[in-house]
Amino acid sequence: MLRQILLITDGCSNVGVQPAVAAAQARDAGIAVNVVGIVDEGTIGEYGAAEIADIARAGGGISRIVNQRQLAQTMQMMTRKTVVQTIHQAVNHELKHILGREEESVRVEVLPPEQRAEVVRVMDEMGEETPLRVALLIDTSASMKPKLPAVEEAIHDLMLSLQARKGKSELSVFHFPGSHGDEHAVMDMDWAADMNRVRRLFQRLNIRGTTPTGPALLHVIDFYQYDSRARTDNIPYYSSSSNREGTGTDGVWSDYIV
Protein backbone atom coordinates (compact mmCIF):
# COMPACT_ATOMS: atom_id res chain seq x y z
CA MET A 1 0.00 0.00 0.00
CA LEU A 2 1.33 3.41 -0.99
CA ARG A 3 0.25 6.22 1.29
CA GLN A 4 0.25 9.94 0.63
CA ILE A 5 -1.04 13.14 2.13
CA LEU A 6 -1.69 16.03 -0.21
CA LEU A 7 -1.89 19.37 1.56
CA ILE A 8 -3.51 22.30 -0.24
CA THR A 9 -2.97 25.68 1.36
CA ASP A 10 -2.48 29.33 0.49
CA GLY A 11 -0.41 30.66 3.30
CA CYS A 12 1.34 30.20 6.54
CA SER A 13 0.39 28.16 9.52
CA ASN A 14 -0.14 30.21 12.66
CA VAL A 15 -1.22 27.76 15.35
CA GLY A 16 0.37 24.74 16.94
CA VAL A 17 3.31 22.56 16.08
CA GLN A 18 5.47 23.43 13.07
CA PRO A 19 3.99 21.68 10.03
CA ALA A 20 7.39 20.44 8.88
CA VAL A 21 7.74 18.52 12.16
CA ALA A 22 4.37 16.90 11.58
CA ALA A 23 5.38 16.10 8.00
CA ALA A 24 8.57 14.44 9.21
CA GLN A 25 6.45 12.24 11.46
CA ALA A 26 4.28 11.30 8.49
CA ARG A 27 7.35 10.31 6.52
CA ASP A 28 8.49 8.24 9.46
CA ALA A 29 5.17 6.45 9.37
CA GLY A 30 5.61 5.68 5.67
CA ILE A 31 3.33 8.44 4.41
CA ALA A 32 4.69 10.86 1.80
CA VAL A 33 3.53 14.47 2.11
CA ASN A 34 2.99 16.63 -0.98
CA VAL A 35 2.09 20.31 -0.77
CA VAL A 36 0.35 22.60 -3.26
CA GLY A 37 0.47 26.31 -2.57
CA ILE A 38 -2.42 27.92 -4.36
CA VAL A 39 -2.31 31.59 -5.38
CA ASP A 40 -4.60 34.10 -7.03
CA GLU A 41 -3.22 37.23 -8.59
CA GLY A 42 -1.16 37.90 -5.53
CA THR A 43 1.80 35.96 -4.30
CA ILE A 44 2.04 33.56 -1.47
CA GLY A 45 4.77 35.52 0.25
CA GLU A 46 8.33 34.56 0.89
CA TYR A 47 7.56 33.05 4.25
CA GLY A 48 4.64 31.00 2.98
CA ALA A 49 6.64 29.69 0.02
CA ALA A 50 9.49 28.68 2.30
CA GLU A 51 7.12 26.86 4.63
CA ILE A 52 5.51 24.97 1.76
CA ALA A 53 8.87 23.79 0.45
CA ASP A 54 9.89 22.92 3.99
CA ILE A 55 6.85 20.73 4.64
CA ALA A 56 7.34 18.75 1.42
CA ARG A 57 11.05 18.30 2.10
CA ALA A 58 10.41 17.00 5.59
CA GLY A 59 7.55 14.85 4.32
CA GLY A 60 9.56 13.29 1.51
CA GLY A 61 7.24 14.67 -1.14
CA ILE A 62 6.98 17.41 -3.75
CA SER A 63 5.81 21.01 -3.46
CA ARG A 64 4.49 23.36 -6.11
CA ILE A 65 3.01 26.83 -6.07
CA VAL A 66 0.38 27.26 -8.78
CA ASN A 67 -2.72 29.26 -9.66
CA GLN A 68 -6.21 27.79 -9.65
CA ARG A 69 -6.22 26.84 -13.31
CA GLN A 70 -3.17 24.62 -12.96
CA LEU A 71 -4.41 22.98 -9.79
CA ALA A 72 -5.98 19.84 -11.24
CA GLN A 73 -3.04 19.07 -13.48
CA THR A 74 -0.55 19.72 -10.69
CA MET A 75 -2.27 17.46 -8.17
CA GLN A 76 -2.50 14.68 -10.72
CA MET A 77 1.18 15.03 -11.66
CA MET A 78 2.38 15.18 -8.04
CA THR A 79 0.48 12.10 -6.99
CA ARG A 80 1.86 10.13 -9.90
CA LYS A 81 5.41 11.35 -9.39
CA THR A 82 5.32 10.54 -5.73
CA VAL A 83 4.12 7.02 -6.43
CA VAL A 84 7.07 6.55 -8.77
CA GLN A 85 9.42 8.11 -6.27
CA THR A 86 8.28 6.01 -3.33
CA ILE A 87 8.79 2.85 -5.34
CA HIS A 88 12.10 4.17 -6.59
CA GLN A 89 13.34 4.73 -3.04
CA ALA A 90 12.23 1.29 -1.99
CA VAL A 91 13.99 -0.28 -4.96
CA ASN A 92 17.19 1.64 -4.27
CA HIS A 93 17.01 0.50 -0.68
CA GLU A 94 16.64 -3.10 -1.80
CA LEU A 95 19.48 -2.76 -4.29
CA LYS A 96 21.81 -1.74 -1.51
CA HIS A 97 20.57 -4.66 0.49
CA ILE A 98 21.06 -7.13 -2.33
CA LEU A 99 24.41 -5.82 -3.45
CA GLY A 100 25.52 -5.50 0.15
CA ARG A 101 26.93 -2.04 -0.31
CA GLU A 102 26.10 1.01 1.69
CA GLU A 103 27.51 3.77 -0.46
CA GLU A 104 25.28 6.30 -2.17
CA SER A 105 26.28 5.13 -5.63
CA VAL A 106 24.03 2.07 -5.64
CA ARG A 107 20.96 3.33 -7.41
CA VAL A 108 18.70 2.25 -10.24
CA GLU A 109 20.08 5.09 -12.36
CA VAL A 110 23.58 3.67 -12.41
CA LEU A 111 22.71 0.10 -13.34
CA PRO A 112 23.86 -1.01 -16.78
CA PRO A 113 21.20 -0.18 -19.41
CA GLU A 114 19.84 -3.71 -19.83
CA GLN A 115 19.31 -4.27 -16.11
CA ARG A 116 18.00 -0.78 -15.63
CA ALA A 117 15.43 -1.36 -18.36
CA GLU A 118 14.20 -4.49 -16.63
CA VAL A 119 14.11 -2.94 -13.14
CA VAL A 120 12.21 0.10 -14.40
CA ARG A 121 9.74 -2.14 -16.22
CA VAL A 122 8.94 -3.87 -12.94
CA MET A 123 8.79 -0.50 -11.16
CA ASP A 124 6.29 0.75 -13.73
CA GLU A 125 4.10 -2.25 -13.07
CA MET A 126 4.28 -1.63 -9.34
CA GLY A 127 3.40 2.02 -9.83
CA GLU A 128 0.34 1.00 -11.76
CA GLU A 129 -0.80 -1.90 -9.63
CA THR A 130 0.13 -1.20 -6.02
CA PRO A 131 -2.85 -0.08 -3.95
CA LEU A 132 -2.74 3.63 -3.23
CA ARG A 133 -4.34 5.90 -0.68
CA VAL A 134 -4.24 9.67 -0.85
CA ALA A 135 -5.57 11.76 2.01
CA LEU A 136 -6.30 15.32 0.93
CA LEU A 137 -5.93 17.98 3.58
CA ILE A 138 -7.43 21.29 2.59
CA ASP A 139 -6.86 24.65 4.19
CA THR A 140 -10.25 26.36 4.47
CA SER A 141 -9.17 29.51 6.22
CA ALA A 142 -10.93 32.69 5.08
CA SER A 143 -8.61 33.49 2.19
CA MET A 144 -9.12 30.04 0.69
CA LYS A 145 -12.88 30.37 0.39
CA PRO A 146 -13.03 31.69 -3.20
CA LYS A 147 -10.66 28.94 -4.30
CA LEU A 148 -12.69 26.04 -2.96
CA PRO A 149 -14.70 25.40 -6.15
CA ALA A 150 -11.41 24.97 -8.04
CA VAL A 151 -10.15 22.68 -5.27
CA GLU A 152 -13.27 20.57 -5.49
CA GLU A 153 -12.92 20.33 -9.24
CA ALA A 154 -9.28 19.30 -8.89
CA ILE A 155 -10.23 16.58 -6.40
CA HIS A 156 -12.75 15.29 -8.88
CA ASP A 157 -10.08 15.25 -11.55
CA LEU A 158 -7.64 13.45 -9.28
CA MET A 159 -10.25 10.81 -8.56
CA LEU A 160 -10.63 10.30 -12.28
CA SER A 161 -6.90 9.68 -12.64
CA LEU A 162 -6.82 7.33 -9.67
CA GLN A 163 -9.72 5.33 -11.01
CA ALA A 164 -7.74 4.65 -14.17
CA ARG A 165 -5.02 2.82 -12.22
CA LYS A 166 -5.07 -0.93 -12.14
CA GLY A 167 -4.40 -1.05 -8.41
CA LYS A 168 -7.06 -0.14 -5.89
CA SER A 169 -6.94 3.60 -5.33
CA GLU A 170 -8.78 5.56 -2.69
CA LEU A 171 -9.16 9.15 -1.61
CA SER A 172 -10.18 10.71 1.64
CA VAL A 173 -10.75 14.40 2.24
CA PHE A 174 -10.14 16.54 5.31
CA HIS A 175 -10.34 20.26 5.88
CA PHE A 176 -8.90 22.46 8.58
CA PRO A 177 -9.45 24.29 10.88
CA GLY A 178 -12.42 22.60 12.54
CA SER A 179 -15.35 24.45 13.95
CA HIS A 180 -13.98 24.83 17.48
CA GLY A 181 -10.64 25.24 19.14
CA ASP A 182 -9.71 21.62 19.85
CA GLU A 183 -10.80 20.33 16.50
CA HIS A 184 -7.82 20.67 14.20
CA ALA A 185 -9.16 18.93 11.15
CA VAL A 186 -12.53 17.60 10.03
CA MET A 187 -13.12 14.63 7.78
CA ASP A 188 -15.31 15.42 4.78
CA MET A 189 -15.02 12.08 3.07
CA ASP A 190 -13.83 8.68 4.29
CA TRP A 191 -11.79 6.41 2.00
CA ALA A 192 -13.65 6.17 -1.26
CA ALA A 193 -12.96 4.99 -4.76
CA ASP A 194 -16.23 6.34 -6.06
CA MET A 195 -16.48 9.39 -8.25
CA ASN A 196 -19.93 10.48 -7.18
CA ARG A 197 -18.94 11.06 -3.62
CA VAL A 198 -16.54 13.81 -4.53
CA ARG A 199 -19.10 16.47 -5.49
CA ARG A 200 -20.21 19.09 -3.03
CA LEU A 201 -17.71 18.34 -0.35
CA PHE A 202 -17.48 21.61 1.46
CA GLN A 203 -21.05 22.40 2.33
CA ARG A 204 -20.99 23.35 5.95
CA LEU A 205 -17.84 25.20 6.60
CA ASN A 206 -17.14 27.37 9.56
CA ILE A 207 -14.65 29.77 8.14
CA ARG A 208 -12.26 30.76 10.88
CA GLY A 209 -9.10 32.77 10.91
CA THR A 210 -6.57 30.29 12.24
CA THR A 211 -4.41 27.97 10.16
CA PRO A 212 -3.30 25.03 12.34
CA THR A 213 -1.47 23.23 9.54
CA GLY A 214 0.79 21.21 11.83
CA PRO A 215 -1.93 19.86 14.15
CA ALA A 216 -4.13 19.12 11.11
CA LEU A 217 -1.36 17.03 9.57
CA LEU A 218 -1.00 15.10 12.82
CA HIS A 219 -4.74 14.49 12.80
CA VAL A 220 -4.51 12.87 9.36
CA ILE A 221 -1.51 10.78 10.36
CA ASP A 222 -3.50 9.48 13.33
CA PHE A 223 -6.40 8.72 11.04
CA TYR A 224 -4.12 6.70 8.77
CA GLN A 225 -2.71 4.73 11.65
CA TYR A 226 -5.92 4.17 13.48
CA ASP A 227 -7.43 3.14 10.22
CA SER A 228 -4.79 0.58 9.30
CA ARG A 229 -5.18 -1.13 12.64
CA ALA A 230 -8.92 -1.12 12.54
CA ARG A 231 -9.41 -2.59 9.12
CA THR A 232 -8.59 -6.04 7.95
CA ASP A 233 -8.78 -5.32 4.24
CA ASN A 234 -5.80 -3.06 4.50
CA ILE A 235 -3.13 -5.61 3.72
CA PRO A 236 0.27 -3.98 3.61
CA TYR A 237 2.09 -5.61 0.74
CA TYR A 238 2.46 -5.23 -2.98
CA SER A 239 -0.09 -7.01 -5.10
CA SER A 240 1.34 -10.33 -6.11
CA SER A 241 0.61 -9.63 -9.77
CA SER A 242 3.42 -7.11 -9.82
CA ASN A 243 5.93 -9.73 -8.86
CA ARG A 244 5.91 -11.97 -11.84
CA GLU A 245 8.43 -14.44 -13.15
CA GLY A 246 11.35 -14.68 -10.86
CA THR A 247 11.79 -11.13 -9.68
CA GLY A 248 11.54 -12.81 -6.31
CA THR A 249 10.68 -9.65 -4.45
CA ASP A 250 7.45 -10.67 -2.83
CA GLY A 251 7.45 -9.73 0.80
CA VAL A 252 10.86 -8.14 0.63
CA TRP A 253 9.51 -4.68 -0.02
CA SER A 254 6.83 -4.78 2.55
CA ASP A 255 8.79 -3.98 5.67
CA TYR A 256 10.17 -0.88 4.05
CA ILE A 257 7.10 0.48 2.34
CA VAL A 258 4.64 0.04 5.13
Partner: protein, 332 residues
Amino acid sequence: MQEMRAAVLKSGEKITGLWNNRTYRIVRLLGQGANGVVYYVERVRSNGDHSRPVEGYALKVGGDAIEFQSEINALKALEKIKRQQASGSRVGRDEARPFLVEADDTEIAGQKIPFYVMRYVPGMTLSVYMRKRGSDWFGFIGGKLLSRLEWLHENGWVFGDIKADNVLVRQDGDVELVDYGGLTPAGSSIRQFTEWYDRGYWNAGSRVADFGYDLFSFAVLTVHLFNEEKLKQRIAGVLPQIRQREDLMAIIRECPVLNPYESWLCRAIHSKFHSTRQAKEEWVRISKQVYRMPRRAPRPTPSWLKMSFAGSALLLLISVLYWAWREQWWLG
Protein backbone atom coordinates in the same frame (compact mmCIF):
# COMPACT_ATOMS: atom_id res chain seq x y z
CA MET B 1 12.02 15.11 -5.27
CA GLN B 2 14.75 15.63 -7.73
CA GLU B 3 13.96 18.41 -10.15
CA MET B 4 14.35 17.79 -13.86
CA ARG B 5 17.87 18.53 -14.93
CA ALA B 6 17.33 20.11 -18.30
CA ALA B 7 20.67 19.79 -19.99
CA VAL B 8 21.44 22.83 -22.10
CA LEU B 9 23.90 21.98 -24.84
CA LYS B 10 25.33 24.30 -27.46
CA SER B 11 25.83 23.42 -31.07
CA GLY B 12 29.23 21.87 -31.68
CA GLU B 13 29.33 20.20 -28.27
CA LYS B 14 29.83 16.45 -28.29
CA ILE B 15 28.08 13.72 -26.40
CA THR B 16 29.75 10.36 -25.92
CA GLY B 17 27.96 7.32 -24.58
CA LEU B 18 29.55 5.68 -21.58
CA TRP B 19 28.39 2.17 -22.46
CA ASN B 20 28.32 2.01 -26.26
CA ASN B 21 31.02 4.62 -26.76
CA ARG B 22 29.42 6.34 -29.73
CA THR B 23 29.87 10.08 -30.14
CA TYR B 24 27.36 12.60 -31.46
CA ARG B 25 27.86 16.26 -32.27
CA ILE B 26 25.02 18.65 -31.38
CA VAL B 27 23.87 20.62 -34.43
CA ARG B 28 20.79 22.41 -33.17
CA LEU B 29 17.92 22.32 -30.70
CA LEU B 30 14.78 20.59 -32.00
CA GLY B 31 12.46 20.96 -29.07
CA GLN B 32 11.71 20.48 -25.43
CA GLY B 33 9.69 17.41 -24.57
CA ALA B 34 7.86 16.71 -21.35
CA ASN B 35 10.85 14.89 -19.97
CA GLY B 36 13.98 16.03 -21.73
CA VAL B 37 15.43 18.12 -24.53
CA VAL B 38 15.69 16.96 -28.14
CA TYR B 39 18.58 17.95 -30.40
CA TYR B 40 19.46 17.37 -33.99
CA VAL B 41 22.84 15.64 -33.93
CA GLU B 42 25.36 14.07 -36.26
CA ARG B 43 27.17 10.88 -35.52
CA VAL B 44 30.90 11.42 -35.20
CA ARG B 45 32.77 8.48 -36.69
CA SER B 46 35.85 7.32 -34.91
CA ASN B 47 39.18 6.80 -36.73
CA GLY B 48 38.32 9.56 -39.18
CA ASP B 49 36.19 7.50 -41.52
CA HIS B 50 34.82 10.20 -43.82
CA SER B 51 33.87 7.94 -46.70
CA ARG B 52 30.33 7.48 -45.50
CA PRO B 53 27.89 10.40 -45.55
CA VAL B 54 27.12 12.05 -42.22
CA GLU B 55 23.95 10.67 -40.70
CA GLY B 56 21.56 12.94 -38.85
CA TYR B 57 19.71 11.79 -35.76
CA ALA B 58 17.40 13.17 -33.14
CA LEU B 59 18.90 12.81 -29.68
CA LYS B 60 16.94 13.26 -26.48
CA VAL B 61 18.81 14.10 -23.30
CA GLY B 62 16.92 13.13 -20.22
CA GLY B 63 15.68 14.66 -17.07
CA ASP B 64 14.29 12.20 -14.56
CA ALA B 65 16.13 8.90 -15.02
CA ILE B 66 13.22 6.61 -14.19
CA GLU B 67 10.67 8.36 -16.39
CA PHE B 68 13.25 8.45 -19.12
CA GLN B 69 13.90 4.75 -18.86
CA SER B 70 10.19 3.92 -19.12
CA GLU B 71 10.06 5.96 -22.28
CA ILE B 72 13.01 4.01 -23.67
CA ASN B 73 11.31 0.78 -22.63
CA ALA B 74 8.17 1.75 -24.53
CA LEU B 75 10.16 2.56 -27.66
CA LYS B 76 12.06 -0.71 -27.33
CA ALA B 77 8.80 -2.60 -27.09
CA LEU B 78 7.54 -0.97 -30.29
CA GLU B 79 10.85 -1.66 -31.98
CA LYS B 80 10.58 -5.32 -31.04
CA ILE B 81 7.08 -5.63 -32.44
CA LYS B 82 8.18 -4.01 -35.66
CA ARG B 83 11.20 -6.28 -36.05
CA GLN B 84 9.04 -9.33 -35.52
CA GLN B 85 6.63 -8.16 -38.16
CA ALA B 86 9.38 -7.19 -40.57
CA SER B 87 11.08 -10.55 -40.46
CA GLY B 88 9.48 -12.66 -43.14
CA SER B 89 7.90 -9.76 -44.95
CA ARG B 90 9.42 -7.35 -47.41
CA VAL B 91 11.01 -4.43 -45.60
CA GLY B 92 9.59 -1.18 -46.88
CA ARG B 93 10.60 2.37 -46.16
CA ASP B 94 8.71 2.63 -42.92
CA GLU B 95 9.94 -0.66 -41.59
CA ALA B 96 13.52 0.46 -42.10
CA ARG B 97 12.94 3.41 -39.81
CA PRO B 98 13.69 2.33 -36.24
CA PHE B 99 11.89 3.86 -33.28
CA LEU B 100 15.05 3.68 -31.25
CA VAL B 101 18.63 3.70 -32.54
CA GLU B 102 20.33 3.35 -29.17
CA ALA B 103 20.09 4.32 -25.52
CA ASP B 104 23.05 5.23 -23.37
CA ASP B 105 24.31 7.47 -20.57
CA THR B 106 26.65 10.39 -20.86
CA GLU B 107 28.44 12.63 -18.45
CA ILE B 108 27.70 16.33 -18.51
CA ALA B 109 29.43 18.55 -15.97
CA GLY B 110 30.26 15.54 -13.83
CA GLN B 111 26.68 14.27 -13.79
CA LYS B 112 25.55 11.04 -15.37
CA ILE B 113 22.63 11.79 -17.66
CA PRO B 114 20.74 9.31 -19.82
CA PHE B 115 20.08 9.94 -23.51
CA TYR B 116 18.64 8.06 -26.43
CA VAL B 117 18.92 8.39 -30.16
CA MET B 118 16.13 8.21 -32.71
CA ARG B 119 16.09 8.50 -36.47
CA TYR B 120 15.66 12.14 -37.42
CA VAL B 121 12.48 12.92 -39.31
CA PRO B 122 12.64 16.06 -41.45
CA GLY B 123 9.28 17.76 -41.46
CA MET B 124 7.14 20.30 -39.68
CA THR B 125 4.59 20.09 -36.93
CA LEU B 126 1.03 19.56 -38.02
CA SER B 127 -0.16 23.07 -37.17
CA VAL B 128 2.67 24.72 -39.10
CA TYR B 129 2.04 22.42 -42.03
CA MET B 130 -1.66 23.22 -42.20
CA ARG B 131 -0.97 26.94 -42.00
CA LYS B 132 1.58 26.77 -44.79
CA ARG B 133 0.04 24.25 -47.15
CA GLY B 134 -3.67 24.79 -46.57
CA SER B 135 -6.58 22.74 -45.32
CA ASP B 136 -6.76 20.69 -48.54
CA TRP B 137 -4.19 18.43 -46.96
CA PHE B 138 -6.25 17.83 -43.88
CA GLY B 139 -8.22 14.79 -45.03
CA PHE B 140 -5.16 13.06 -46.41
CA ILE B 141 -3.01 13.70 -43.37
CA GLY B 142 -5.79 12.72 -40.99
CA GLY B 143 -5.95 9.33 -42.72
CA LYS B 144 -2.19 8.88 -42.40
CA LEU B 145 -2.30 9.72 -38.72
CA LEU B 146 -5.11 7.25 -38.13
CA SER B 147 -3.03 4.57 -39.86
CA ARG B 148 -0.23 5.20 -37.40
CA LEU B 149 -2.64 4.92 -34.51
CA GLU B 150 -4.16 1.79 -35.98
CA TRP B 151 -0.77 0.08 -35.95
CA LEU B 152 -0.12 1.07 -32.33
CA HIS B 153 -3.57 0.01 -31.18
CA GLU B 154 -3.47 -3.33 -32.95
CA ASN B 155 -0.25 -4.06 -31.11
CA GLY B 156 -1.67 -3.23 -27.71
CA TRP B 157 -0.38 0.32 -27.20
CA VAL B 158 -2.07 3.68 -26.85
CA PHE B 159 -0.20 6.87 -27.76
CA GLY B 160 -1.82 8.94 -25.02
CA ASP B 161 -0.50 12.40 -25.73
CA ILE B 162 -1.83 13.24 -29.17
CA LYS B 163 -1.64 16.96 -29.88
CA ALA B 164 -0.65 19.22 -32.75
CA ASP B 165 2.94 19.51 -31.49
CA ASN B 166 3.42 15.77 -31.37
CA VAL B 167 2.48 15.12 -34.97
CA LEU B 168 5.18 15.72 -37.53
CA VAL B 169 4.36 15.91 -41.24
CA ARG B 170 7.03 14.88 -43.68
CA GLN B 171 7.59 16.45 -47.07
CA ASP B 172 5.55 13.72 -48.77
CA GLY B 173 2.55 14.29 -46.50
CA ASP B 174 3.09 11.17 -44.42
CA VAL B 175 3.10 11.68 -40.67
CA GLU B 176 5.23 10.59 -37.73
CA LEU B 177 4.31 10.67 -34.09
CA VAL B 178 6.97 12.19 -31.89
CA ASP B 179 7.39 12.28 -28.09
CA TYR B 180 6.40 8.85 -26.94
CA GLY B 181 6.29 9.85 -23.26
CA GLY B 182 2.57 9.15 -23.12
CA LEU B 183 2.78 5.70 -24.72
CA THR B 184 0.80 3.36 -22.47
CA PRO B 185 -0.03 -0.33 -22.67
CA ALA B 186 -3.76 -0.76 -23.29
CA GLY B 187 -5.62 -1.16 -20.00
CA SER B 188 -3.24 0.88 -17.83
CA SER B 189 -3.72 4.50 -16.83
CA ILE B 190 -2.56 7.04 -19.43
CA ARG B 191 0.99 8.01 -18.55
CA GLN B 192 1.08 11.52 -19.93
CA PHE B 193 -1.58 13.70 -21.49
CA THR B 194 -2.40 17.29 -22.34
CA GLU B 195 -5.44 18.76 -20.63
CA TRP B 196 -7.38 20.00 -23.64
CA TYR B 197 -6.98 16.71 -25.46
CA ASP B 198 -7.88 14.58 -22.47
CA ARG B 199 -11.11 12.61 -22.46
CA GLY B 200 -11.44 13.06 -18.70
CA TYR B 201 -11.06 16.82 -18.97
CA TRP B 202 -14.21 16.95 -21.13
CA ASN B 203 -16.11 14.64 -18.77
CA ALA B 204 -16.30 12.23 -21.66
CA GLY B 205 -14.82 9.10 -20.15
CA SER B 206 -11.99 7.57 -18.18
CA ARG B 207 -8.21 7.90 -18.33
CA VAL B 208 -7.75 4.21 -18.94
CA ALA B 209 -5.70 3.64 -22.10
CA ASP B 210 -7.88 2.27 -24.88
CA PHE B 211 -8.06 3.03 -28.60
CA GLY B 212 -11.01 5.34 -27.98
CA TYR B 213 -8.80 7.59 -25.88
CA ASP B 214 -6.55 8.35 -28.84
CA LEU B 215 -9.51 8.78 -31.18
CA PHE B 216 -11.02 11.30 -28.79
CA SER B 217 -7.75 13.27 -28.73
CA PHE B 218 -7.66 13.08 -32.52
CA ALA B 219 -11.08 14.74 -32.63
CA VAL B 220 -9.93 17.52 -30.30
CA LEU B 221 -6.87 17.91 -32.51
CA THR B 222 -9.05 18.71 -35.51
CA VAL B 223 -10.92 21.32 -33.49
CA HIS B 224 -7.65 22.79 -32.28
CA LEU B 225 -6.33 23.03 -35.82
CA PHE B 226 -9.31 24.78 -37.34
CA ASN B 227 -10.91 26.73 -34.58
CA GLU B 228 -8.43 27.36 -31.83
CA GLU B 229 -10.06 30.65 -30.84
CA LYS B 230 -13.48 29.10 -30.22
CA LEU B 231 -11.90 26.23 -28.32
CA LYS B 232 -10.12 28.65 -26.03
CA GLN B 233 -13.29 30.67 -25.52
CA ARG B 234 -15.26 27.56 -24.59
CA ILE B 235 -12.63 26.37 -22.18
CA ALA B 236 -12.47 29.76 -20.52
CA GLY B 237 -16.23 30.29 -20.48
CA VAL B 238 -17.61 26.96 -19.31
CA LEU B 239 -17.49 25.78 -15.71
CA PRO B 240 -15.31 22.67 -15.47
CA GLN B 241 -18.00 20.48 -13.94
CA ILE B 242 -20.40 21.12 -16.82
CA ARG B 243 -17.79 21.01 -19.55
CA GLN B 244 -18.93 18.32 -21.90
CA ARG B 245 -18.74 16.69 -25.30
CA GLU B 246 -21.50 18.89 -26.63
CA ASP B 247 -19.18 21.89 -26.27
CA LEU B 248 -16.77 20.29 -28.70
CA MET B 249 -19.56 19.33 -31.08
CA ALA B 250 -20.84 22.91 -31.10
CA ILE B 251 -17.43 24.19 -32.23
CA ILE B 252 -17.19 21.49 -34.88
CA ARG B 253 -20.54 22.54 -36.36
CA GLU B 254 -19.32 26.09 -36.73
CA CYS B 255 -16.31 25.06 -38.74
CA PRO B 256 -16.73 24.65 -42.54
CA VAL B 257 -13.65 22.44 -43.04
CA LEU B 258 -14.93 20.00 -40.43
CA ASN B 259 -18.50 19.89 -41.74
CA PRO B 260 -18.15 16.74 -43.84
CA TYR B 261 -16.48 15.00 -40.88
CA GLU B 262 -19.13 15.97 -38.34
CA SER B 263 -20.65 12.52 -37.98
CA TRP B 264 -17.20 10.92 -37.78
CA LEU B 265 -16.05 13.34 -35.11
CA CYS B 266 -19.28 12.82 -33.20
CA ARG B 267 -18.58 9.09 -33.09
CA ALA B 268 -14.98 9.63 -32.00
CA ILE B 269 -16.05 11.98 -29.24
CA HIS B 270 -18.74 9.58 -28.03
CA SER B 271 -16.47 6.50 -28.31
CA LYS B 272 -18.76 4.84 -30.83
CA PHE B 273 -16.17 3.20 -33.05
CA HIS B 274 -15.52 -0.53 -32.74
CA SER B 275 -11.88 -0.28 -33.72
CA THR B 276 -9.32 2.17 -35.03
CA ARG B 277 -9.36 0.34 -38.34
CA GLN B 278 -13.07 1.03 -38.68
CA ALA B 279 -12.48 4.67 -37.77
CA LYS B 280 -9.68 4.99 -40.28
CA GLU B 281 -11.62 3.37 -43.11
CA GLU B 282 -14.56 5.62 -42.43
CA TRP B 283 -12.29 8.68 -42.38
CA VAL B 284 -10.64 7.78 -45.67
CA ARG B 285 -14.04 7.22 -47.26
CA ILE B 286 -15.23 10.66 -46.20
CA SER B 287 -12.05 12.43 -47.21
CA LYS B 288 -12.16 10.86 -50.67
CA GLN B 289 -15.67 12.19 -51.09
CA VAL B 290 -14.61 15.61 -49.92
CA TYR B 291 -11.79 15.78 -52.45
CA ARG B 292 -14.21 14.98 -55.26
CA MET B 293 -16.89 17.42 -54.18
CA PRO B 294 -17.38 20.64 -56.09
CA ARG B 295 -16.21 23.52 -53.99
CA ARG B 296 -19.07 25.17 -52.21
CA ALA B 297 -17.16 28.14 -51.02
CA PRO B 298 -14.66 29.79 -53.36
CA ARG B 299 -11.22 30.46 -52.02
CA PRO B 300 -11.24 33.46 -49.74
CA THR B 301 -10.26 36.73 -51.40
CA PRO B 302 -6.59 37.34 -50.73
CA SER B 303 -5.86 40.30 -48.52
CA TRP B 304 -3.69 42.12 -51.11
CA LEU B 305 -6.70 42.18 -53.46
CA LYS B 306 -8.90 43.64 -50.75
CA MET B 307 -6.30 46.27 -49.99
CA SER B 308 -5.91 47.33 -53.65
CA PHE B 309 -9.67 47.52 -54.03
CA ALA B 310 -9.96 49.77 -51.01
CA GLY B 311 -7.08 51.85 -52.37
CA SER B 312 -8.61 52.37 -55.80
CA ALA B 313 -11.98 53.20 -54.29
CA LEU B 314 -10.31 55.85 -52.17
CA LEU B 315 -8.48 57.27 -55.21
CA LEU B 316 -11.76 57.44 -57.15
CA LEU B 317 -13.42 59.31 -54.31
CA ILE B 318 -10.57 61.79 -54.12
CA SER B 319 -10.62 62.44 -57.89
CA VAL B 320 -14.40 62.93 -57.91
CA LEU B 321 -14.15 65.41 -55.07
CA TYR B 322 -11.28 67.18 -56.78
CA TRP B 323 -13.22 67.36 -60.04
CA ALA B 324 -16.26 68.70 -58.25
CA TRP B 325 -14.17 71.35 -56.57
CA ARG B 326 -12.56 72.38 -59.84
CA GLU B 327 -15.85 72.63 -61.66
CA GLN B 328 -17.53 74.39 -58.75
CA TRP B 329 -20.71 72.64 -59.89
CA TRP B 330 -22.70 73.46 -56.83
CA LEU B 331 -22.53 77.12 -57.74
CA GLY B 332 -24.18 76.32 -61.01
